[in-house]
């Protein structure tokens, strides 16, 4: 079965997307922006559906580009408004409301304007790993390289800024630029993972390696996150093929299983 081109491309996509989301999870964990990312990810359904609509209607705008731009815009908007002392709750409520309207409008556009609208919308929601094209794999490989490189190169800086942004700023770091780097890398990572896993699973995948790593090993390191990323993705993909079940569902269930196992081990052995 693995020899079939579609299945092989899917496997390569999983092998590339695994490190992308686990590196993103590591970056968000050490920079203590995990909750921020989850809050933004909840608004990303709008970006994914809008991307699907534009890809279908305009045809020259790939879905990844729309997801990236939407995520980046929302992150920057939230960060700048919070910086200007608008209450965080108000900003997030505003973004969620706006995104809800975009979601409904894009969904309506997909269902009523294109014949394949419903399947496109479902693809954005739960991913289409078996539909990835060779060009998608090249893009994913490039993003994987960028994400892993950035996370490796700026590990110390992100930790320092997360401890106290003002201390870091007076020490000579351009804190705002680093936060924008985090948003850009997270948005890139999301644009890849949405295609493979679907928007519904992105939230789970963003937190799963982080929680599992802290519960199981009580330590945070990039190699551990990378291993956890592959440990949930590859078996999830294999099971989905064996039982003909949606891939993102299998990966999501394994992720939750790993988290539950970690929590149980912590509870049993107090590690």
């Amino acid at each position: 079965m693995v020899a079939e081109p579609v299945v092989l491309r899917g496997l390569i996509a999983i092998l590339l997307a695994g490190p992308v989301f686990s590196s993103m999870s590591y970056m968000l964990t050490v920079s203590q922006t995990l909750m921020f990312a989850i809050e933004i990810a909840h608004s990303l359904m709008a970006g994914a559906l809008l991307g699907a609509l534009l890809e279908e209607v305009v045809r020259i705008v790939p879905m990844e580009a729309t997801v990236f731009l939407y995520s980046m815009t929302v992150s920057a908007l939230v960060a700048e408004l919070v910086r200007k002392r608008v209450p965080r709750d108000t900003v997030l409520a505003l973004v969620a409301s706006f995104s809800a309207v975009v979601t409904v409008a894009s969904l309506w556009g997909l269902v009523y304007t294109t014949p394949l609208g419903v399947s496109k919308a479902l693809g954005a929601l739960w991913g289409t790993v078996l539909l990835v094209k060779p060009v998608d794999l090249v893009y994913m490989a490039a993003v994987a390289l960028v994400v892993v490189l950035v996370v490796t190169l700026f590990d110390l800086e992100l930790k320092y800024i997360s401890f106290d942004p003002e201390l870091a700023a007076v020490s000579g770091l351009n804190v705002r630029a680093y936060y924008y780097l985090v948003y850009a890398v997270a948005s890139l990572a999301l644009s890849v993972t949405v295609k493979v896993y679907g928007i519904v699973l992105v939230s789970v995948l963003t937190v799963a390696p982080s929680i599992a790593s802290q519960y199981l090993l009580r330590r945070i390191s990039l190699p551990v996150f990378l291993l956890l990323g592959l440990a949930v993705s590859v078996p999830g993909y294999a099971i989905s093929l064996a039982f003909n079940v949606q891939t993102s569902l299998c990966i999501g269930l394994i992720s939750l299983g790993v988290i539950a196992f970690g929590a149980a081990m912590r509870w049993l052995y107090g590690r």
């Binding site: 110390l156 401890f163 020490s171």
Partner: protein, 261 residues
């Protein structure tokens, strides 16, 4: 260590924080070497003035020069001269960061990326940790430190890059009496042995301080500054703390805070 010359100047500074002027027409000058305490009631503008001094807040009017550097426009030069310790409780001690990494970044932050811990950085980290008496905490996570230990780790990260000036925002607030004394002694030692100038905001005069500090008395405006004995007069204290009560030889500033004068 560079020659201990230069001064910190604050000239007619007006600074707004959260939409209102927390500091108005503040003017003062401190000549090196100095160990200065910024004293005033809650809402007096101590934190605002400190943020202006370290370049985190641009004054609406007036200007600041720290050893000749404009803190807001020349952040790169300032970072080599000044170390800043934010108010305790505002930082987020992470379980993912070790003391060694925090101190290393204190030093590496003034260098260009890529930043990584090499043998020279390791040596400086160890030296700073020893100076602060916490070398045994090098591999501890920040979230596992007590308040006093965390403050020492932050100071270690600052002195790792050998600043000329330490600016500390109410570092004594969360400490018990003996920890306050230890911390005050430590700062005094840095001031005397390493030649570091100090500006520290506080709500109290540390009784355990063995030398007379410069006191800057502030309540939105700088009411007086200079040697403690000249500044802490009943008249000045009454202006800085309008609710102060004078009983016998003591000026009572708050329930548990009195100054003889």
């Amino acid at each position: 260590m560079e020659p201990r010359e230069g001064r910190v100047e604050v000239v007619d500074v007006h600074a707004a924080y959260n939409g209102y002027y927390a500091v108005e027409a503040a003017t003062l000058e401190l000549r090196s070497p100095f160990y200065a305490l910024l004293l005033g009631p809650n809402g007096a503008g101590k934190t605002t003035l400190i943020k202006v001094l370290v370049g985190l807040l641009r004054p609406a009017r007036g200007y600041v020069r720290v050893y000749g550097v404009d803190p807001f426009s020349d952040r790169a030069s300032l970072s080599k001269l000044v170390g800043y310790m934010p108010q305790p409780g505002t930082s987020r001690p992470s379980p993912f960061v070790k003391v060694r990494e925090l101190v290393a970044m204190g030093y590496l932050s003034t260098r260009r990326p890529p930043r990584y811990i090499d043998s020279e950085t390791e040596r400086l980290v160890l030296e700073s940790l020893k100076t602060m008496g916490i070398e045994d905490l090098a591999d501890r996570r920040l979230s596992d430190l007590s308040g006093g230990e965390l403050q020492r780790a932050v100071i270690a990260s600052i002195i790792a890059r050998r600043p000329r000036l330490l600016v500390l925002d109410e570092p004594l607030a969360p400490l018990d009496f003996s920890a306050k004394c230890e911390f005050a002694e430590l700062l005094l030692r840095l001031h005397e042995r390493l030649g570091v100038d100090v500006i520290m905001s506080t709500h109290e005069l540390t009784l355990c301080m063995y030398s007379e500090p410069v006191v800057i008395l502030i309540n939105r405006r700088v009411i007086a500054y200079g040697p403690a004995r000249d500044v802490l007069t009943p008249e000045n204290l009454k202006r800085a703390y309008p609710d102060a009560v004078r009983i016998g030889g003591l000026t009572i500033l708050a329930e548990s805070h009195a100054v003889r004068g």
